[in-house]
Symmetry: C3
Protein backbone atom coordinates (compact mmCIF):
# COMPACT_ATOMS: atom_id res chain seq x y z
CA UNK A 1 0.00 0.00 0.00
CA UNK A 2 1.19 3.51 -0.83
CA UNK A 3 2.86 4.99 2.23
CA UNK A 4 2.89 8.76 1.80
CA UNK A 5 0.11 11.20 0.90
CA UNK A 6 1.87 12.18 -2.34
CA UNK A 7 2.21 8.50 -3.29
CA UNK A 8 -1.42 7.83 -2.44
CA UNK A 9 -2.49 10.81 -4.49
CA UNK A 10 -0.67 9.31 -7.47
CA UNK A 11 -2.11 5.84 -6.82
CA UNK A 12 -5.60 7.35 -6.68
CA UNK A 13 -5.03 9.10 -10.00
CA UNK A 14 -5.74 12.52 -8.54
CA UNK A 15 -4.01 15.41 -10.26
CA UNK A 16 -3.85 18.66 -8.34
CA UNK A 17 -4.84 21.73 -10.35
CA UNK A 18 -2.10 23.79 -11.98
CA UNK A 19 -4.56 26.64 -12.23
CA UNK A 20 -5.73 28.09 -8.94
CA UNK A 21 -8.46 30.72 -8.97
CA UNK A 22 -6.96 34.17 -8.46
CA UNK A 23 -8.21 36.16 -5.48
CA UNK A 24 -8.33 39.89 -5.05
CA UNK A 25 -6.74 41.48 -1.97
CA UNK A 26 -6.84 38.39 0.16
CA UNK A 27 -4.91 35.12 -0.17
CA UNK A 28 -5.94 31.59 -1.13
CA UNK A 29 -4.07 30.10 1.80
CA UNK A 30 -2.37 31.54 4.85
CA UNK A 31 0.21 29.98 7.11
CA UNK A 32 0.76 30.80 10.74
CA UNK A 33 3.06 28.59 12.80
CA UNK A 34 2.09 25.01 12.00
CA UNK A 35 -1.43 25.96 10.91
CA UNK A 36 -2.67 26.47 7.35
CA UNK A 37 -5.91 28.39 6.88
CA UNK A 38 -7.38 27.71 3.44
CA UNK A 39 -9.82 30.22 1.92
CA UNK A 40 -13.15 28.97 0.60
CA UNK A 41 -12.50 26.96 -2.55
CA UNK A 42 -15.13 26.87 -5.27
CA UNK A 43 -15.83 23.68 -7.23
CA UNK A 44 -13.48 24.33 -10.14
CA UNK A 45 -12.88 21.03 -11.89
CA UNK A 46 -11.29 19.90 -15.16
CA UNK A 47 -10.34 22.79 -17.49
CA UNK A 48 -10.80 25.28 -14.63
CA UNK A 49 -14.57 25.28 -15.07
CA UNK A 50 -17.02 25.08 -12.17
CA UNK A 51 -18.13 21.44 -11.86
CA UNK A 52 -21.64 22.48 -10.83
CA UNK A 53 -23.59 25.73 -10.78
CA UNK A 54 -26.99 26.09 -9.15
CA UNK A 55 -29.00 24.53 -6.36
CA UNK A 56 -29.03 21.04 -4.97
CA UNK A 57 -32.68 20.06 -4.80
CA UNK A 58 -33.36 21.82 -8.10
CA UNK A 59 -30.90 22.14 -11.00
CA UNK A 60 -28.13 19.99 -9.49
CA UNK A 61 -28.30 16.32 -8.49
CA UNK A 62 -26.68 14.79 -5.43
CA UNK A 63 -24.22 12.92 -7.67
CA UNK A 64 -23.19 16.17 -9.36
CA UNK A 65 -22.92 17.83 -5.96
CA UNK A 66 -20.72 15.06 -4.60
CA UNK A 67 -18.37 15.46 -7.55
CA UNK A 68 -18.36 19.22 -7.01
CA UNK A 69 -17.44 18.66 -3.34
CA UNK A 70 -14.62 16.38 -4.49
CA UNK A 71 -13.34 19.13 -6.77
CA UNK A 72 -13.38 21.64 -3.90
CA UNK A 73 -11.34 19.27 -1.74
CA UNK A 74 -8.81 18.72 -4.52
CA UNK A 75 -8.51 22.51 -4.84
CA UNK A 76 -7.88 22.71 -1.09
CA UNK A 77 -5.01 20.25 -1.58
CA UNK A 78 -3.77 22.32 -4.52
CA UNK A 79 -3.56 25.35 -2.25
CA UNK A 80 -1.78 23.32 0.43
CA UNK A 81 0.85 21.96 -1.95
CA UNK A 82 1.40 25.38 -3.52
CA UNK A 83 2.08 26.76 -0.04
CA UNK A 84 4.29 24.05 1.47
CA UNK A 85 5.59 22.13 -1.54
CA UNK A 86 4.43 18.64 -0.61
CA UNK A 87 1.35 17.08 0.98
CA UNK A 88 3.71 14.81 2.90
CA UNK A 89 4.25 17.63 5.38
CA UNK A 90 0.60 17.55 6.48
CA UNK A 91 0.14 16.03 9.93
CA UNK A 92 -3.62 16.47 10.28
CA UNK A 93 -6.60 17.84 8.37
CA UNK A 94 -8.24 19.66 11.27
CA UNK A 95 -11.52 20.89 9.84
CA UNK A 96 -13.55 21.26 6.67
CA UNK A 97 -16.40 23.73 6.27
CA UNK A 98 -18.93 22.79 3.62
CA UNK A 99 -21.21 25.36 2.00
CA UNK A 100 -23.85 23.90 -0.29
CA UNK A 101 -26.13 25.93 -2.53
CA UNK A 102 -29.55 24.35 -2.10
CA UNK A 103 -33.28 24.79 -2.08
CA UNK A 104 -34.67 25.46 1.39
CA UNK A 105 -36.01 21.93 1.84
CA UNK A 106 -32.83 20.06 0.88
CA UNK A 107 -31.68 17.83 3.75
CA UNK A 108 -29.08 15.40 2.39
CA UNK A 109 -25.95 17.48 2.95
CA UNK A 110 -24.00 14.47 4.18
CA UNK A 111 -24.42 12.63 0.86
CA UNK A 112 -22.79 15.59 -0.91
CA UNK A 113 -19.98 16.49 1.49
CA UNK A 114 -18.78 12.90 1.65
CA UNK A 115 -17.24 13.75 -1.73
CA UNK A 116 -14.87 16.18 -0.01
CA UNK A 117 -14.34 14.09 3.09
CA UNK A 118 -13.31 11.01 1.08
CA UNK A 119 -10.54 12.90 -0.68
CA UNK A 120 -8.98 13.70 2.68
CA UNK A 121 -9.25 10.22 4.16
CA UNK A 122 -8.13 8.57 0.91
CA UNK A 123 -5.04 10.77 0.66
CA UNK A 124 -4.06 11.15 4.32
CA UNK A 125 -5.53 8.03 5.98
CA UNK A 126 -6.21 8.58 9.68
CA UNK A 127 -4.56 12.01 9.49
CA UNK A 128 -7.34 12.98 7.10
CA UNK A 129 -10.17 12.40 9.62
CA UNK A 130 -11.31 15.97 10.20
CA UNK A 131 -13.99 17.83 12.12
CA UNK A 132 -16.66 19.17 9.79
CA UNK A 133 -19.58 21.53 9.60
CA UNK A 134 -21.88 21.59 6.57
CA UNK A 135 -24.65 24.08 5.91
CA UNK A 136 -26.95 25.12 3.10
CA UNK A 137 -26.29 28.61 1.76
CA UNK A 138 -28.73 30.99 0.11
CA UNK A 139 -26.27 32.02 -2.60
CA UNK A 140 -22.69 31.36 -3.59
CA UNK A 141 -19.87 33.18 -5.37
CA UNK A 142 -20.34 32.63 -9.13
CA UNK A 143 -23.19 30.26 -8.28
CA UNK A 144 -20.74 27.49 -7.29
CA UNK A 145 -22.87 24.65 -5.91
CA UNK A 146 -20.22 23.75 -3.37
CA UNK A 147 -17.57 25.74 -1.51
CA UNK A 148 -15.17 24.19 1.01
CA UNK A 149 -12.76 25.91 3.37
CA UNK A 150 -10.23 24.18 5.62
CA UNK A 151 -7.77 24.26 8.47
CA UNK A 152 -4.77 21.97 8.15
CA UNK A 153 -1.92 21.22 10.52
CA UNK A 154 1.64 20.75 9.31
CA UNK A 155 4.80 19.48 10.93
Amino acid sequence: MASSPEERLKALGITLPEWLAPVSGYVGILRTGNLLIVSGQLCYGPEAKLAAVGRLGAEVTIEQGRFAARCCAINVLGRVRSEIGSLDRVTCVLRLGGFLLTTWDFTDHAAVMIGATEVMTDVFGDAGSHARCTIGVASAPLGSTVQVDAMVEIA
Copy 2:
Protein backbone atom coordinates in the same frame (compact mmCIF):
# COMPACT_ATOMS: atom_id res chain seq x y z
CA MET B 1 -22.29 27.40 44.86
CA ALA B 2 -21.08 24.44 42.82
CA SER B 3 -17.41 24.91 42.00
CA SER B 4 -16.59 22.75 39.01
CA PRO B 5 -18.25 22.48 35.59
CA GLU B 6 -19.17 18.83 36.21
CA GLU B 7 -20.75 19.78 39.56
CA ARG B 8 -22.62 22.70 37.97
CA LEU B 9 -23.86 20.43 35.22
CA LYS B 10 -25.31 18.13 37.88
CA ALA B 11 -26.79 21.06 39.84
CA LEU B 12 -28.42 22.34 36.64
CA GLY B 13 -29.95 18.92 36.00
CA ILE B 14 -28.31 18.63 32.59
CA THR B 15 -27.61 15.11 31.41
CA LEU B 16 -25.14 14.75 28.56
CA PRO B 17 -26.30 12.44 25.79
CA GLU B 18 -25.16 8.83 25.84
CA TRP B 19 -26.03 8.62 22.16
CA LEU B 20 -23.95 10.79 19.85
CA ALA B 21 -24.90 10.99 16.21
CA PRO B 22 -22.57 8.83 14.13
CA VAL B 23 -20.60 10.58 11.40
CA SER B 24 -19.25 9.12 8.19
CA GLY B 25 -15.56 9.57 7.35
CA TYR B 26 -15.02 12.58 9.53
CA VAL B 27 -15.03 12.87 13.34
CA GLY B 28 -17.41 14.50 15.80
CA ILE B 29 -14.57 16.20 17.63
CA LEU B 30 -10.88 16.63 16.97
CA ARG B 31 -8.10 17.50 19.36
CA THR B 32 -4.89 19.27 18.49
CA GLY B 33 -2.64 20.48 21.27
CA ASN B 34 -4.88 22.22 23.79
CA LEU B 35 -7.59 22.94 21.22
CA LEU B 36 -10.77 20.96 20.61
CA ILE B 37 -12.58 21.49 17.31
CA VAL B 38 -16.17 20.28 17.54
CA SER B 39 -18.05 19.38 14.35
CA GLY B 40 -21.46 20.92 13.72
CA GLN B 41 -23.92 19.40 16.17
CA LEU B 42 -27.56 19.05 15.17
CA CYS B 43 -30.36 19.65 17.68
CA TYR B 44 -30.79 16.08 18.85
CA GLY B 45 -32.66 16.16 22.14
CA PRO B 46 -34.36 13.62 24.40
CA GLU B 47 -34.60 10.11 22.89
CA ALA B 48 -32.07 11.08 20.20
CA LYS B 49 -34.74 12.87 18.17
CA LEU B 50 -34.26 16.28 16.58
CA ALA B 51 -35.82 18.86 18.90
CA ALA B 52 -36.96 21.00 15.97
CA VAL B 53 -37.17 20.52 12.22
CA GLY B 54 -38.03 23.32 9.81
CA ARG B 55 -37.73 27.08 9.59
CA LEU B 56 -37.79 29.74 12.25
CA GLY B 57 -40.23 32.33 11.01
CA ALA B 58 -42.52 29.62 9.65
CA GLU B 59 -42.98 26.14 11.16
CA VAL B 60 -40.80 26.68 14.23
CA THR B 61 -41.28 29.25 17.02
CA ILE B 62 -38.51 31.17 18.74
CA GLU B 63 -39.14 29.21 21.94
CA GLN B 64 -38.75 25.91 20.09
CA GLY B 65 -35.63 27.27 18.39
CA ARG B 66 -34.10 28.32 21.69
CA PHE B 67 -34.64 24.83 23.08
CA ALA B 68 -33.12 23.36 19.91
CA ALA B 69 -30.06 25.62 20.37
CA ARG B 70 -29.80 24.39 23.96
CA CYS B 71 -29.83 20.79 22.72
CA CYS B 72 -27.03 21.55 20.24
CA ALA B 73 -24.90 23.05 23.01
CA ILE B 74 -25.49 20.03 25.24
CA ASN B 75 -24.41 17.81 22.34
CA VAL B 76 -21.24 19.92 22.01
CA LEU B 77 -20.54 19.20 25.68
CA GLY B 78 -21.27 15.52 25.07
CA ARG B 79 -18.59 15.48 22.38
CA VAL B 80 -16.15 17.29 24.66
CA ARG B 81 -16.64 14.91 27.56
CA SER B 82 -16.40 11.87 25.27
CA GLU B 83 -13.04 13.19 24.04
CA ILE B 84 -11.36 14.33 27.27
CA GLY B 85 -13.29 12.48 29.99
CA SER B 86 -14.40 15.47 32.08
CA LEU B 87 -15.66 18.99 31.44
CA ASP B 88 -13.47 20.09 34.34
CA ARG B 89 -10.49 20.10 31.98
CA VAL B 90 -12.02 22.90 29.87
CA THR B 91 -10.26 26.25 30.38
CA CYS B 92 -12.24 28.33 27.88
CA VAL B 93 -15.06 28.00 25.38
CA LEU B 94 -13.47 30.00 22.57
CA ARG B 95 -16.18 30.23 19.95
CA LEU B 96 -19.63 29.01 18.98
CA GLY B 97 -20.96 29.10 15.43
CA GLY B 98 -24.76 29.15 15.18
CA PHE B 99 -26.58 28.07 12.03
CA LEU B 100 -30.32 28.66 12.09
CA LEU B 101 -32.75 27.40 9.48
CA THR B 102 -35.06 30.37 8.84
CA THR B 103 -37.25 32.22 6.40
CA TRP B 104 -35.42 35.00 4.60
CA ASP B 105 -36.99 37.77 6.70
CA PHE B 106 -36.25 36.28 10.12
CA THR B 107 -34.12 38.68 12.20
CA ASP B 108 -34.20 37.49 15.81
CA HIS B 109 -31.21 35.15 15.75
CA ALA B 110 -30.00 36.38 19.13
CA ALA B 111 -33.21 35.24 20.87
CA VAL B 112 -32.57 31.72 19.59
CA MET B 113 -28.80 31.37 20.06
CA ILE B 114 -29.02 32.55 23.66
CA GLY B 115 -30.23 28.99 24.28
CA ALA B 116 -26.80 27.67 23.36
CA THR B 117 -24.85 30.51 24.94
CA GLU B 118 -26.56 30.08 28.32
CA VAL B 119 -25.54 26.43 28.54
CA MET B 120 -21.89 27.47 28.26
CA THR B 121 -22.03 30.32 30.77
CA ASP B 122 -24.17 28.29 33.20
CA VAL B 123 -21.77 25.35 33.13
CA PHE B 124 -18.40 27.13 32.85
CA GLY B 125 -19.04 30.57 34.37
CA ASP B 126 -16.62 33.20 33.03
CA ALA B 127 -14.72 30.49 31.14
CA GLY B 128 -17.90 29.92 29.14
CA SER B 129 -18.03 33.46 27.70
CA HIS B 130 -17.27 32.77 24.06
CA ALA B 131 -17.02 34.63 20.78
CA ARG B 132 -19.96 33.87 18.54
CA CYS B 133 -21.23 34.19 15.00
CA THR B 134 -24.83 33.37 14.11
CA ILE B 135 -26.30 33.23 10.64
CA GLY B 136 -29.44 32.08 8.92
CA VAL B 137 -28.96 29.12 6.60
CA ALA B 138 -30.96 28.18 3.53
CA SER B 139 -31.07 24.50 4.41
CA ALA B 140 -29.74 22.18 7.09
CA PRO B 141 -28.72 18.54 7.39
CA LEU B 142 -31.89 16.51 8.11
CA GLY B 143 -33.77 19.79 8.37
CA SER B 144 -32.35 20.46 11.85
CA THR B 145 -33.54 23.95 12.82
CA VAL B 146 -30.31 24.65 14.66
CA GLN B 147 -26.72 23.49 14.22
CA VAL B 148 -23.86 24.62 16.48
CA ASP B 149 -20.13 24.07 16.07
CA ALA B 150 -17.44 25.04 18.57
CA MET B 151 -13.82 25.60 19.44
CA VAL B 152 -12.86 24.84 23.04
CA GLU B 153 -9.59 25.25 24.88
CA ILE B 154 -8.37 22.71 27.42
CA ALA B 155 -5.59 22.69 29.97
Copy 3:
Protein backbone atom coordinates in the same frame (compact mmCIF):
# COMPACT_ATOMS: atom_id res chain seq x y z
CA MET C 1 4.24 56.75 3.79
CA ALA C 2 2.61 56.16 7.14
CA SER C 3 4.50 53.41 8.90
CA SER C 4 2.19 51.95 11.54
CA PRO C 5 -1.38 50.66 11.32
CA GLU C 6 -2.61 53.37 13.71
CA GLU C 7 -0.90 56.04 11.60
CA ARG C 8 -2.34 54.58 8.39
CA LEU C 9 -5.79 54.50 9.94
CA LYS C 10 -5.48 58.21 10.67
CA ALA C 11 -4.11 58.95 7.17
CA LEU C 12 -7.05 57.05 5.68
CA GLY C 13 -9.49 59.10 7.73
CA ILE C 14 -11.01 56.02 9.36
CA THR C 15 -12.46 56.54 12.80
CA LEU C 16 -13.07 53.44 14.85
CA PRO C 17 -16.47 53.31 16.50
CA GLU C 18 -16.80 54.45 20.11
CA TRP C 19 -20.05 52.54 20.29
CA LEU C 20 -19.76 48.78 19.99
CA ALA C 21 -22.93 46.72 19.81
CA PRO C 22 -23.60 45.08 23.16
CA VAL C 23 -23.83 41.29 23.20
CA SER C 24 -25.72 39.09 25.60
CA GLY C 25 -23.91 36.25 27.38
CA TYR C 26 -21.08 35.99 24.91
CA VAL C 27 -18.26 38.44 24.11
CA GLY C 28 -17.50 40.63 21.11
CA ILE C 29 -13.89 39.49 21.03
CA LEU C 30 -11.93 36.81 22.80
CA ARG C 31 -8.21 36.48 23.29
CA THR C 32 -6.29 33.26 23.74
CA GLY C 33 -2.52 33.34 23.60
CA ASN C 34 -1.59 35.42 20.57
CA LEU C 35 -4.92 34.81 18.84
CA LEU C 36 -7.94 37.12 18.79
CA ILE C 37 -11.29 35.60 17.82
CA VAL C 38 -13.74 38.31 16.80
CA SER C 39 -17.48 37.63 16.95
CA GLY C 40 -19.62 38.32 13.90
CA GLN C 41 -19.85 42.09 13.44
CA LEU C 42 -22.96 43.58 11.87
CA CYS C 43 -22.73 46.53 9.48
CA TYR C 44 -23.21 49.30 12.01
CA GLY C 45 -21.98 52.53 10.47
CA PRO C 46 -22.20 56.23 11.28
CA GLU C 47 -24.46 57.03 14.26
CA ALA C 48 -24.52 53.34 15.21
CA LYS C 49 -27.15 52.57 12.58
CA LEU C 50 -26.97 49.56 10.24
CA ALA C 51 -25.50 50.74 6.93
CA ALA C 52 -27.68 48.35 4.97
CA VAL C 53 -30.67 46.14 5.76
CA GLY C 54 -32.10 43.62 3.33
CA ARG C 55 -30.95 41.47 0.44
CA LEU C 56 -28.29 42.02 -2.15
CA GLY C 57 -29.93 41.26 -5.45
CA ALA C 58 -33.15 42.92 -4.31
CA GLU C 59 -33.39 45.89 -1.90
CA VAL C 60 -29.65 46.50 -1.58
CA THR C 61 -27.18 47.42 -4.34
CA ILE C 62 -23.63 46.14 -4.64
CA GLU C 63 -22.30 49.61 -3.82
CA GLN C 64 -24.38 49.73 -0.63
CA GLY C 65 -23.24 46.21 0.21
CA ARG C 66 -19.59 47.10 -0.28
CA PHE C 67 -19.97 50.03 2.10
CA ALA C 68 -21.73 47.75 4.59
CA ALA C 69 -18.82 45.29 4.35
CA ARG C 70 -16.43 48.18 5.01
CA CYS C 71 -18.41 49.10 8.12
CA CYS C 72 -18.22 45.51 9.38
CA ALA C 73 -14.45 45.49 8.94
CA ILE C 74 -14.11 48.79 10.78
CA ASN C 75 -16.17 47.32 13.61
CA VAL C 76 -13.81 44.32 13.67
CA LEU C 77 -10.93 46.78 14.14
CA GLY C 78 -12.92 48.56 16.85
CA ARG C 79 -13.20 45.27 18.74
CA VAL C 80 -9.49 44.60 18.27
CA ARG C 81 -8.41 47.99 19.56
CA SER C 82 -10.82 47.79 22.51
CA GLU C 83 -9.22 44.46 23.45
CA ILE C 84 -5.51 45.18 23.00
CA GLY C 85 -5.30 48.98 23.04
CA SER C 86 -3.60 49.56 19.70
CA LEU C 87 -3.80 48.11 16.20
CA ASP C 88 0.00 48.34 16.09
CA ARG C 89 0.15 45.09 18.05
CA VAL C 90 -1.48 43.15 15.21
CA THR C 91 0.98 40.91 13.36
CA CYS C 92 -1.44 39.29 10.91
CA VAL C 93 -5.10 39.29 9.96
CA LEU C 94 -5.54 35.53 9.61
CA ARG C 95 -9.06 35.14 8.29
CA LEU C 96 -12.28 36.96 7.52
CA GLY C 97 -15.64 35.24 7.21
CA GLY C 98 -18.18 37.13 5.11
CA PHE C 99 -21.92 36.53 5.43
CA LEU C 100 -24.03 38.32 2.87
CA LEU C 101 -27.81 38.51 2.91
CA THR C 102 -28.83 37.89 -0.69
CA THR C 103 -31.40 36.55 -3.06
CA TRP C 104 -30.73 32.96 -4.09
CA ASP C 105 -29.38 33.91 -7.54
CA PHE C 106 -26.89 36.55 -6.38
CA THR C 107 -23.35 35.62 -7.46
CA ASP C 108 -21.15 38.70 -7.05
CA HIS C 109 -20.02 38.17 -3.47
CA ALA C 110 -16.46 39.20 -4.29
CA ALA C 111 -17.56 42.70 -5.36
CA VAL C 112 -19.13 43.20 -1.94
CA MET C 113 -16.54 41.61 0.36
CA ILE C 114 -13.73 43.60 -1.22
CA GLY C 115 -15.10 46.43 0.93
CA ALA C 116 -14.01 44.53 4.05
CA THR C 117 -10.81 43.16 2.58
CA GLU C 118 -9.58 46.59 1.50
CA VAL C 119 -9.86 47.95 5.03
CA MET C 120 -7.47 45.26 6.23
CA THR C 121 -4.90 45.66 3.46
CA ASP C 122 -5.08 49.47 3.60
CA VAL C 123 -4.51 49.52 7.35
CA PHE C 124 -2.07 46.63 7.79
CA GLY C 125 -0.36 46.34 4.40
CA ASP C 126 0.97 42.83 3.75
CA ALA C 127 0.01 41.81 7.30
CA GLY C 128 -3.61 42.48 6.29
CA SER C 129 -3.66 39.84 3.52
CA HIS C 130 -6.02 37.30 5.02
CA ALA C 131 -7.66 34.02 4.10
CA ARG C 132 -11.36 34.50 3.41
CA CYS C 133 -14.59 32.61 2.95
CA THR C 134 -17.73 34.40 1.76
CA ILE C 135 -21.20 32.91 1.55
CA GLY C 136 -24.76 34.03 0.99
CA VAL C 137 -27.00 33.63 4.03
CA ALA C 138 -30.74 33.10 4.11
CA SER C 139 -31.27 35.55 6.96
CA ALA C 140 -29.21 37.77 9.23
CA PRO C 141 -29.43 39.18 12.74
CA LEU C 142 -31.51 42.40 12.56
CA GLY C 143 -31.53 42.01 8.78
CA SER C 144 -27.92 43.26 8.52
CA THR C 145 -26.93 42.88 4.86
CA VAL C 146 -23.36 42.01 5.81
CA GLN C 147 -21.78 40.30 8.80
CA VAL C 148 -18.03 39.71 9.14
CA ASP C 149 -16.16 37.66 11.71
CA ALA C 150 -12.38 37.40 12.05
CA MET C 151 -9.31 35.74 13.46
CA VAL C 152 -6.35 38.01 14.12
CA GLU C 153 -2.85 37.28 15.32
CA ILE C 154 -1.01 39.57 17.73
CA ALA C 155 2.57 39.77 18.91
